[in-house]
Symmetry: C2
Subunit: 396 residues, 2 copies
Amino acid sequence: MARVLIIGAGGVGQVVAHKCAQVPEVFSDICLASRTEAKCKKIAAQLSRPIETAGVDADNVPELVALIRRFRPDVVINVALPYQDLHIMDACLETGVHYVDTANYEPPDVAHFEYKWQWDYQARFKERGIMALLGSGFDPGVTNVFTAWAKKKHFDTIEELDIIDANAGDHGMPFATNFNPEINIREVTANGKFYCDGAFVETKPMEISKVYDFPAGIGPKKIYLLWHEELESLARFLKPHGLKAARFWMTFSDNYLKHLEVLQNVGMTRIDPVMYNGHEVIPLQFLKALLPDPASLGPLTKGKTCIGCLIKGTKDGKPRRYYVYNICDHQEAYREVQSQAISYTTGVPAMIGAMMVATGTWKGTGVFNMEDFDPEPFMQKLNIHGLPWTEQFLEG
Amino acid sequence: MARVLIIGAGGVGQVVAHKCAQVPEVFSDICLASRTEAKCKKIAAQLSRPIETAGVDADNVPELVALIRRFRPDVVINVALPYQDLHIMDACLETGVHYVDTANYEPPDVAHFEYKWQWDYQARFKERGIMALLGSGFDPGVTNVFTAWAKKKHFDTIEELDIIDANAGDHGMPFATNFNPEINIREVTANGKFYCDGAFVETKPMEISKVYDFPAGIGPKKIYLLWHEELESLARFLKPHGLKAARFWMTFSDNYLKHLEVLQNVGMTRIDPVMYNGHEVIPLQFLKALLPDPASLGPLTKGKTCIGCLIKGTKDGKPRRYYVYNICDHQEAYREVQSQAISYTTGVPAMIGAMMVATGTWKGTGVFNMEDFDPEPFMQKLNIHGLPWTEQFLEG
């Protein structure tokens, strides 16, 4: 029986609250906190059992500490913005409470997608006798667990890892981003990067693409090579086991890329201020003010997501190709937790990660990535809590 | 020998100043005025002979009247914004000075492209014993003169008039508008409209298009049906002579339309204010702040414009098809007047219109459109002053 504090009441926070509330045998007491407490109360009203709510500025460590001291959680789930990871980790250190998040810390001024800042907390978490579980979303998160599972169960050596993320959903709007538009656009306008023969190789944004034929009726879609944070930890993890290449791929529709290209051409993705009538306007933030609120897309989105790992290696001296993936349906997710699959696939693993920590199934002191633990209990929980997975052994 | 006051020091004002300065036998004295006098001084410094400059707010009638009383022009050329036409006409009425412009008045809040407001000045200009010459640019302007010329010289009846405007220039930028982006975008996002069998028929924006094969090596280009103000006066003009259809067409590249579509989709062409950090931001005006200054495109633009009239009718009882057009080269225009062909093709006819008025070649009291006068002297001046035209009798 554990007490959990969830920080962040956006789309993912809503899913985490729903999923924690569904497991009272683990999460006896839940508090949902956000800068705007009204958002927490709105989510609380959807749930099958009562939870606490609180208003907190996640950039304000003393405020966070006071909230943690008041609610006394066993574990904190951070699903606020990536800019706030370090403040919440600081508050956990000060209060001696375990920490779980879904996305790596990012400085507000420039997109990095690196674990450096959070891995630097290793010694402090160890000394304090608590654990931080980093990146317990889908990608990173489940993709790391899939990889650890493949390595444990099906491979002696792993030479190639391709993480492939398809959102084959359609919200019916001419253009909208599925989560915070600022983060979304930062991700796809950044340079690409992948692991190759011991080093990371940079590409121009969206420079490398190919067509991938997805299962479950999704069919062939164009996928683009992006940098994604789990490649950093997974390359480190698989290096001693023969890794030659690790890549991350994501689908983007031609329409989405057309909009992005134009917005870049006219300067609307800039994050430096532009003077307008005597006031500073940051184009990307003004764009966010113009676009539909991602939360409003939930009830409109149809179709599926498909995220998985395609792995090439050897078992018992023989070459092997293996694909493990999850299919999540936007409308089914919305029916269950009033959020579409993008939030659902991130929120469910955040709950399961907190469950691993709260129950002591995953145990340790220091800062951990998902592949550092035994994947088996996590893989079981995925099947139980809404993200069932499928594995295939492929020819050729 | 006449004194001319030019109001407006944008791209077109610059061309008008250059071209008036080239004709000292007509324009003995020139004053160039604009809200920002520094812009006038910069243009004055390019010219072969000295001119006066002045600062004036073209929305402020008393300021305009004071300037007119001080400089005592015989004719005022208005190449400021279309929002300012009526203020400048008011000042001409008060001072008894002839008026010439290149674009119809437009209320700031919504795009109309109608002569209504300016035609309402008819009685007042008549009583005051002065003339207003409306729309003495290229289109409207030369296109009206081309039509009047065709009717006078080559046709007994005119059944169809197609005005076709191609900008086959390339500024090498991913996206930029050739003149004031706000006016430019208003024009192409407005509904289309054309004259058909006695009435005007509306279309959705850019609903009707076809491919037209342009002369002078430009070749086939996609043209789109737009509403353009000269259709209003030319339909009235040709109605008694058998007119069945009158249409205006303009080329747009797929790339230009792609940018425009996306900017509309995300709301960047809206002209209503959006709240951003406690301040009102009008998206279309913010877009203007982001895009390259149209004046900066001058030195970059290569290629040609081709604007002309394709006319179908009868002569001596036999069917006839006739095409009259001008070709203008962006780089040649820039070498001569430091502005590309879009400004050049508007500014030269403004000078010629003022010349017609100043020399009494075109004479009258009241408000006139270009086709109300004998086209012959204007057609001659086009050949002399940089906009030579070609006519073709077509088969079929």
